[in-house]
């Protein structure tokens, strides 16, 4: 298999698009908790939590700069333990992406294409991702390169356009109900930091793996800024009550804007940006999933797995949720936070523990070096 390499810059772009797409999709800081006008504070809290998550995931990844999480977890925890954890991660790749494409398809059917069946929208997006993945991770990275400017432009344009309807009164009073609601709203966005799991698969393909953490942190920071800015703007334009009770607050905000008599519908920009983000999101997650399965099953090339995986994925995204209410329930802090912690943070804590024990026991770096030289 030829070794594909992506630049760290491309990792930043991909992570940025993956993370920001959540923001423009459902803006979970506003819709999941009770923070309301203080949601921007929750955004800051969740940014900090995401950075911690990156340290947790990326920190281990750079200890093994030539292996994916699927390889070293079995080394650290033994065959059985490692494989079980790997299945956890595979599930996350599948489920997160399936959920996100479902949200996107729901929006399209509600807002634009009411007569189009959901499965058609889902499968065409998955098809795009499958094509991109079969061409390789380099191609995904290059499309991210090509899309990043228009993506940023679309988001910036809709945010700037919204300034016209901005009202500071909506953001007051600050912290009137204490820090409790702020944290309740930060739980789901923080748990969504598990999207950074892709680091476990992407780091070995990087040109400079040891700089993975700064790159991921930069992406988190940038998308955090987008998150904070859009939270403030959405609350400022829509008001806390409407904002937190709507399904797609960002979309609703752009829909409410009328910049001038001629330019009045800019929500198409948001939907396009969303589509671009979803595409990158799906491609990266499908790539990670396919790589994972191929490494678990010891198949040299992951490409033959893409087709079956894509079909499985479409089914998953259609049948996991009955309707949109199900999706909303899934993202409730008391469901999503424990779910994500169990399935991401706990396994990683285990991996870290195993790593530290072995590190201490066998004289640290020597162990890794020895294992690396040994051919598989």
């Amino acid at each position: 298999m030829t070794t594909e390499k992506i630049h760290n810059r491309q990792l930043v772009f991909m992570l940025f698009m993956i993370r920001s797409t959540v923001t423009i999709a459902s803006l979970p800081v506003l819709t999941t908790g009770t923070a309301e006008q203080d949601a921007w504070l929750s955004a800051i809290v969740s940014l900090a939590a995401t950075l911690l998550m990156i340290l947790l995931i990326g920190g281990l990844a750079i200890k093994f700069p030539e292996e994916t999480v699927f390889e070293y977890s079995r080394k650290l925890l033994g065959k059985t333990g490692g494989t079980i954890i790997c299945f956890f991660f595979l599930w996350i790749f599948l489920n997160t992406a399936a959920t996100e494409v479902r949200i996107y398809a729901e929006l399209l059917t509600i807002g634009f294409l009411p007569h189009t069946p959901l499965i058609f929208l889902v499968s065409s997006m998955v098809l795009l991702a499958a094509v991109a993945v079969s061409l390789g991770v380099e191609v995904i990275a290059r499309t991210a390169d090509a899309l990043i400017f228009s993506y940023i432009f679309f988001i910036a344009a809709s945010l700037l356009g919204a300034l016209k309807g901005f009202d500071f009164i909506n953001l007051q009073p600050v912290l009137s109900r204490g820090f409790g609601p702020v944290f309740s709203s930060a739980l789901t966005p923080a748990a969504l930091g598990n999207q950074n799991l892709v680091l476990g698969v992407l780091v070995p393909t990087l040109t400079t793996p040891r700089k993975a953490i700064p790159s991921a942190a930069l992406a988190a920071l940038l998308s955090g800024i987008v998150l904070i800015l859009s939270t403030i703007t959405v609350v400022g334009v829509l008001g806390p009550k409407i904002g937190s009770s709507s399904l797609f607050p960002f979309f609703l905000m752009t829909k409410a804007i009328e910049i001038s008599r001629f330019v009045e519908r800019i929500e198409a920009l948001v939907v396009i940006a969303w589509g671009l983000g979803i595409f990158i999101n799906l491609s990266v997650f499908l790539y990670c999933g396919a790589r994972g399965i191929s490494q678990l099953a010891r198949i040299r090339d992951y490409r033959p797995l893409i087709g079956p995986m894509a079909i499985f994925w479409i089914i998953l995204s259609i049948h996991t949720y009955d309707d949109f209410l199900d999706l909303i329930k899934f993202f409730q802090p008391r469901v999503f936070f424990p779910y994500s912690i169990t399935i991401t943070v706990l396994p990683y804590l285990l991996l870290w523990a195993a790593y530290l024990i072995r590190h201490a026991g066998r004289g640290g770096k020597k162990y890794i070096r020895k294992r690396r030289i040994k051919p598989e």
Partner: protein
């Protein structure tokens, strides 16, 4: 059974015939072309002049354009023949040779039958000025003739002397009609190989501009050359081009399009993967960026490899105009390119699916004029686009004199009448003509065609799936384009992979004094083009003088 045996026998006799023909002489008309070619290769010239001439007549079928002049010359009155092909030679030069040979003014020391020495004598004494070469076989003799040589044959010598008398008439060097500029140079490539090379050498005079020649096509024997700046173009790239070009095995190369098909990376790409142009200044610019040019004889199009996407939207004028104007024009072109691909599709999508995206008044206006049009909007746009393509194609194929007639038919009869008859709504005509105009701003014709093909797909996607379909198609094209490579270089560079350093020549063109580095991927061998800090400013010496007060002019 009888017919079967007959058939077998017939087949057998046929193979027997072939075998016989292989052994037979060149006069055998049953020989196939490849056998003839092989036979001619083995034929060498004879010592006796009449025999040689007979042989040549047999091989070539004694065509009318092969002129053979026989005469005796020198003190010994040796039999001499002068051969050339009409149209290939400059008659004055041939006259010159003839006069020198015929005058017999040279002191030949040779006796009868000493042909080789006589030829050497000719070579040394008489023909110093012309380029000469010895030919020993019929094949060599013929290729010398087709290269515009005059061949001198001498009785008693088994070799001939080919003197260069090239005088083929080409058209003049003119501005290429498909790529005209306002401020650029007005010369374009023509159908002559060496003239084209000279046009490039005139621009890049370093001896490090290297030319490698190949002869391709077993029958056409076309000259193909690859041209690059040694030490600037990466060796792997040159090697790759050399290998792909020399691998071509075919009977004839009629133009650079043949070569393009043979050597491009991905035969299923609808985008051109090699850049072709008729402008020497563009090729020279590419060579100076470390690219490789492939020049083909008999065509005015030169190929450049590798190509990247932004090259397609760069017009030569961008570099000759002032920076701001050039950048504006280029931005405009990018915009027009977007229109030419997406506009009809988006129009269809908006009208069919997303009426709410239009402003209310605009929507009402469109709905009002669309009232009574019998076709769905997809069909309408599709029809008009096809119509436009027909007009464009007809415009190219037409004899020049009928051109205006077609434009009248196209504009008045089809456009105006279709609207009046209520078959097509005016907005569709506006959209289609806007698209057409936009598509002609693409400076590379072959890419304009690719854009047109895509446009039809987008009309379909927009009509069936709305903006979602257009986004789907756009992403698919983007994925495809970022996976394609041209001679190993990513097609979408410097956008994907992102190379910010090369952005100085992407949508904007930087000032020339800012273009300090060559494009990164290509000029990796020596990225620095010029020293930094050449921004025009008041002369430094003057500044210093002013500081010290020396040389300051007296005001009174």
């Amino acid at each position: 059974m009888k017919w079967l045996t007959a058939l077998l026998r017939g087949k057998k006799s046929h193979t027997a015939q072939k075998k016989k023909a292989e052994a037979g002489k060149i006069t055998d008309s049953r020989m196939d072309i490849s056998q003839r070619e092989a036979a001619v290769k083995s034929l060498s010239l004879k010592k006796s002049l009449p025999e040689t001439l007979k042989l040549i007549r047999e091989v070539t079928g004694a065509p009318g354009d092969l002129t053979i002049r026989e005469f005796r010359a020198g003190r010994e009155q040796v039999e001499i023949a002068l051969l050339h092909l009409e149209g290939f030679v400059d008659n004055k030069l041939v006259e010159n040779i003839l006069r020198m040979l015929g005058l017999g003014s040279f002191q030949s020391p040779v006796g009868k039958g000493a042909g080789p020495n006589l030829l050497q004598e000719f070579r040394r004494r008489l023909l110093q000025s012309a380029e000469t070469k010895e030919v020993a076989t019929v094949d060599e003799l013929w290729s010398a003739l087709t290269n515009g040589c005059t061949v001198i044959l001498c009785h008693g010598s088994a070799t001939g002397l080919a003197c260069d008398t090239w005088g083929f008439k080409y058209r003049n060097i003119e501005e290429p009609s498909a790529e005209s500029t306002i401020r650029g140079p007005r010369d374009g490539f023509i159908e002559s190989f060496y003239t084209n090379v000279a046009l490039l050498r005139k621009r890049i005079k370093t001896p490090n501009l290297w030319l490698e020649e190949f002869t391709l096509g077993s029958l056409s024997r076309t000259k193909v050359g690859i041209l690059y700046i040694k030490g600037l173009a990466s060796e792997e790239l040159v090697q790759e081009v050399r290998q792909r070009v020399s691998r071509i095995k075919t009977d004839a190369i009629m133009g650079s399009g043949y070569i393009e098909d043979f050597i491009e990376d991905n035969p299923f790409s609808i985008f051109p993967l090699l850049f072709q142009t008729e402008r020497p200044d563009r090729v020279a610019g590419c060579l100076l960026e470390g690219r490789v040019a492939v020049i083909t004889d008999n065509t005015s199009f030169v190929l450049v490899a590798p190509m990247d996407f932004p090259m397609l939207l760069q017009a030569p004028d961008d570099y000759y105009e002032k920076m701001f104007i050039g950048s504006f024009l280029r931005l405009l072109r990018y915009f027009a390119f977007g229109i030419s691909i997406f506009l009809p599709g988006i129009y269809v999508a908006v009208i069919v699916f997303h009426n709410e995206l239009l402003q209310a008044q605009l929507l009402l206006r469109i709905a009002a004029v669309k009232e009574g049009v019998p076709f769905p909007v997809v069909a309408e746009v599709f029809l008009m686009e096809i119509l436009f393509e027909l007009l464009r194609e007809a415009g190219i194929r037409l004899p020049r004199a009928i051109g205006p007639a077609i434009s009248i038919v196209g504009a008045l009869v089809l456009g105006d009448a279709a609207i009046r008859a209520g078959l097509v709504s005016p907005p569709v005509v506006i959209i289609v003509s806007l698209t057409a105009i936009a598509s002609f701003t693409v400076p590379t014709f072959s890419f304009g065609i690719a854009a047109r093909l895509l446009r039809f797909i987008f009309i379909f996607l927009g009509g069936a799936f709305g903006l979602f379909g257009i986004q789907f198609g756009g992403l698919l094209v983007l994925i495809y384009m970022s996976s394609v490579r041209s001679f190993g270089y990513p097609y979408l560079a410097p956008v994907a992979p992102l190379i910010l350093k090369s952005f100085k020549d992407l949508a904007f063109r930087a000032w020339w004094w800012r273009m300090n580095t060559r494009p990164l991927l290509l000029g990796a061998r020596e990225p620095v083009r010029q020293p930094r800090g050449q921004q025009p400013r008041p002369d430094i010496e003057e500044e210093e003088k002013e500081k010290t007060g020396k040389g300051r002019k007296n005001d009174h």
